[in-house]
């Protein structure tokens, strides 16, 4: 099954966020509220527009994902990396060293 969800970045700290079921913004992709129709997507984007006006998030947009066995997986490599973090990096090496 494919669906669309809404994502954005936190205004203060820039972190990647997903619009969750109860209108909350979650760092966890799995908590994102899926839209399976254009109307549902528009409703999610309306919530996101409000959150941008309230300065919770910036640059909100809708993206596609597939749900396989209940696990959401973004369709694009860009969104997979955005959800999981860099696949490589000095930040990861530093984290491991700690």
């Amino acid at each position: 099954m494919t669906a669309r969800i809404v994502t954005a970045n936190g205004l203060r700290d820039g972190e990647v966020l997903y619009l969750a079921r109860d209108g909350r913004w979650s760092r966890d992709l799995a908590e994102a509220e899926p839209a399976e129709s254009a109307e549902a997507e528009a409703a999610l984007m309306a919530i996101a527009e409000g959150a941008m006006r309230c300065r919770t998030v910036v640059e909100a947009y809708a993206m596609a994902l597939a749900v396989e066995d209940g696990t959401p997986r973004p369709l694009s490599q860009r969104e997979r990396i955005r959800a999981a973090g860099p696949t490589v990096g000095t930040d990861i090496a530093i984290e491991r060293g700690r």
Partner: protein
Amino acid sequence: MYRYDEFDSALVNERVAQFRGQVARRLSGYLDEDRFKPLRLMNGVYLQLHAYMLRVAIPYGTLDSRQMRRLARIARVYDRGYGHFTTRQNVQYNWPKLAEVPDILAELAEVEMHAIQTSGNCIRNVTADHFAGAAADEVEDPRIHAEVIRQWSTLHPEFSFLPRKFKIAVTGAARDRAAINVHDIGLQMLRNEAGEPGFRVVVGGGLGRTPIVGPTIREFLPKAELLSYLEAVLRVYNRLGRRDNPFKARIKILVASVGGDAFAAMVEEEWQALRGGSLDLPEEEVARIAAYFAPPPFGALPAQDTEFEAMRFEDRDFARWCRTNLHPHKQQGYAILSISLKPVGGVPGDATAEQMEAVADLAERYGLDEIRVSHEQNLVLPHIRLRDVHAVWQGLVAAGLGAANIGLVSDIISCPGLDYCNLANARSIPVAQRIATRFADLDRQHDIGELKLKISGCINACGYHHVGHIGILGVDKKGSEFYQITLGGSAGEDASLGEIVGPAFSYDDVVDAVETLVETYVGLRETGERFLDAYRRLGSAPFKEALYAGH
């Protein structure tokens, strides 16, 4: 090194205060994102794939130990413990919080640094030969003129909203270590027949989706007239450059559309109206700036150092490192020392806070307190006494900075790619890491010899792939990462653009393809022939054959 005067300090501190106010207004709702975005970009703050990114200017790539320690402190306190040195001699932090950026800028201002004009359609950080002031082959220290250009271009009201960004590079020598032929303006210092120093002016070079090696529009520009001539170039561009399409807005498109000669004629005409005016710098002002770049107090040393020679004889690892990472210095008894930020398995251009501090300590103790950032994403200690080279090397090895691979196949330029960048189509860093790992055997790398491999994760070409001996461009093919290979590019004085060798390779196959290319070269080279020279002699046919014959 240049030191801020009262005007520089006032300007940078005012800018910090101004941006602090802008961030506060954004967070409290007085500014919306549409109004705030251009303001944050003017201060080097981007929103990237995972977080904000702050780009800090390192004018002409020159730093002292105090500044490097401050970069380390910022990495540790405000970011995730590291920084990324870029192909434009800047440093980028990948994880700053917007609310803390004003504090970061205030910390930078304390050590005479800033993020002004590291983004936006203005004249960006002026880059220069990273061996400036130390190279045996230079006419003059190019940083004197890079600093003159910095002062002229900083907050220049007429050039703050150009059709598109504008990048200037300066080299002091015939040997081009600053890639001047692929910049909006490239300046090469040379002497005319009377022996007077001046510039050859290249305009309209660039990479990105329309790569062009820029034409020379003036063979010799007297030093004193540098700014009036640059102002004339910028005026013509500002007036005629396209503003309707960002992909056609760089000066290279304008120059290519009218032709180099016609563009030169337009500049000449504009210049006649500007010459002899207030932009001609008085001798004493140039002398004042030049004094900041006066040679440091070099000692009178013999050309050879017996201790250095003995260590090179005794220690094979040290000798191997010296072969690639040491360069001739203009001052007898000294060497220029390159610090590779390309350890096998590392991220090209990244340095941890601890590594930055180690470099700062070594520069302070042994290197007359000077550090450089190269456009090839490495660091340089430009003034090391031969007798201290071994001690510095040991310090570098202890800090994990001892890679002996400058100019070799694992000394890869790589953009951040899809792991960090909002614009990328494919990952760059893991491809660089896998190639470096494949060629990890240093004996093999030394046998292969000079080979400049450059990777970009999208057509914007931040990884300079068009001018790599081997260039790799990441593309998105129906949601999968593929890599197009170009051969025969060069960023040097013999600049050329690489040619696409054939269909792109998958993420899994691209490393094998690179190895096939290298093995083909090794099989066909003549004694002492570099990869680039072999490619230019042989053409693409044997490489195509090796890559695609079985397909």
